[in-house]
Symmetry: C2
Subunit: 233 residues, 2 copies
DNA sequence: GAACCATTTTGATCTTGGTCAAACGGACAG
DNA sequence: CTGTCCGTTTGACCAAGATCAAAATGGTTC
């Protein structure tokens, strides 16, 4: 039944979520799952559906979003290798977010029932799940405070600093995905994102196309006033 | 060492978090904890501090908030009987939110180290913690989408509907706490909250002081366009 | 290299919500 | 009963961001 190629296993086994669990149990989970390739712009699941699978993005780029009345909003951009929608799977409640691929992506699909069954038996997996959910909660707390008490250019500035930090404090990098998606993630319109980049030009950031160059990190940080608490992961 | 009075135990033992755990273990947790009474407007802990205690509000009203640059924002109003800041305790990371009492409150303080120790041993507690964190995550997802794609009067309308639902669809109730706090929770200024209440007058809501009367639930719902997905708890 | 397409940017204008100031009102002390 | 204090409401104004329209940019195909 497993459509999973051997080559992927080490990467997945190294995930915080699966890292500490019993080897036999992990084998059981992985052999009950399947790896699928999806084209770009494909909807993986919709908000409101029963949570049938835990998803692990192995390769590509996935957007988690919510379509409200009229407009949509991007909640998270998932980069490999990361699991997503753990909370819905765990609680056996409907998905709160929809997911679509942004680029062609490979996704490991772990049947939710299997996941829940193994969690009950494997304490290490349960602990890892708990930890993962706690970190996810904290991410959301940060995102919400960001939205509530920062304005748009400041949010962009912080996002750039964080993004840079994620790639070893690179001062020169490419934005992944389209700007419209970034705008939605940051809670603004594409037009406004453009203007926000304009504002940041005067605070040490140079942009051309998708290429961002942080010319003056101190100036950018002074404008962004980043959270003094370090990121959790 | 236990300052806990016998009278509180049944209520606390009935909490989803502690309900299913081993009786002896629960006894161990509760006897290692203490119940304290705090006056109104007292800071229980500050964002950035080490998470020393899991808190359980037994009686009173507590505000979780974040003080950013200049302004504050309310993240949650905790009503009894509820545990709070589970994620920080679980991960042994600093608090992301500060907490203050709004009214005189009784709080059970469970030492974080004790909590973490017992979680490791008691699978039922671990499972309950996991579940609680998942629900907390989902709460935050909802709050963030609310902030990102609804405008202020709409957020108020939804809050009123939810608040009403929490008390058995009462159409007539009192707001708990001050309006300034409600405004901050909903991500607006007190002035704007006033105007939002004004807007809702034309949509079936009557207000005088802290007393809210929903005269026309259908009209309010039409304006609020509430989430079709039911609340998780 | 030219034409075409989608995305991004720019500009003008409008809406929402924030700010500041003043009036109002209810709770409480004297 | 009356004055004081604090939270709330109202009003006038301002600023941030959304919307709408049009121009520019960049990549792709023929």
């Amino acid at each position: 039944m497993s459509l999973m190629r051997i080559g992927e296993k080490p990467e997945i086994a190294r995930l915080p979520l699966f890292r500490d669990m019993d080897d036999a149990m992990r084998e059981r989970v992985l052999s009950g799952s399947f790896l699928q390739v999806f084209p770009p712009q494909l909807t993986l699941f919709e908000r409101g559906q029963q949570a049938d699978f835990l998803h692990v993005l192995v390769d590509g780029l996935v957007e988690l979003y919510v379509s409200g009345t009229g407009r949509d909003t991007t909640m998270k951009i998932v980069e490999p290798v990361t699991s997503f929608i753990l909370a819905a799977v765990m609680t056996d409640l409907p998905y709160l977010m929809s997911a679509r691929t942004l680029t062609s992506s490979r996704v490991l699909l772990v049947p939710a029932a299997l996941m829940r069954e193994v969690i009950r038996k494997d304490t290490a997996l349960m602990q890892a799940t708990m930890h993962e959910l706690a970190l996810g909660y904290r991410d959301m707390v940060r995102a919400l405070t960001d939205m509530k008490l920062r304005q748009s250019a400041e949010r962009l500035a912080n996002h750039l600093l964080e993004f840079s930090a994620q790639r070893g404090n690179a001062w020169d990098f490419e934005l992944s995905g389209e700007k419209r998606v970034l705008a939605s993630l940051l809670g603004m319109t594409p037009e406004n994102l453009s203007r926000a980049f304009g504002t940041l030009k005067e605070h040490g950031v140079n942009i051309s196309g998708a290429r961002v160059r942080i010319e003056d990190r101190a100036a950018l940080a002074a404008f962004a006033r980043p959270d003094p608490l370090p990121a959790d992961r």
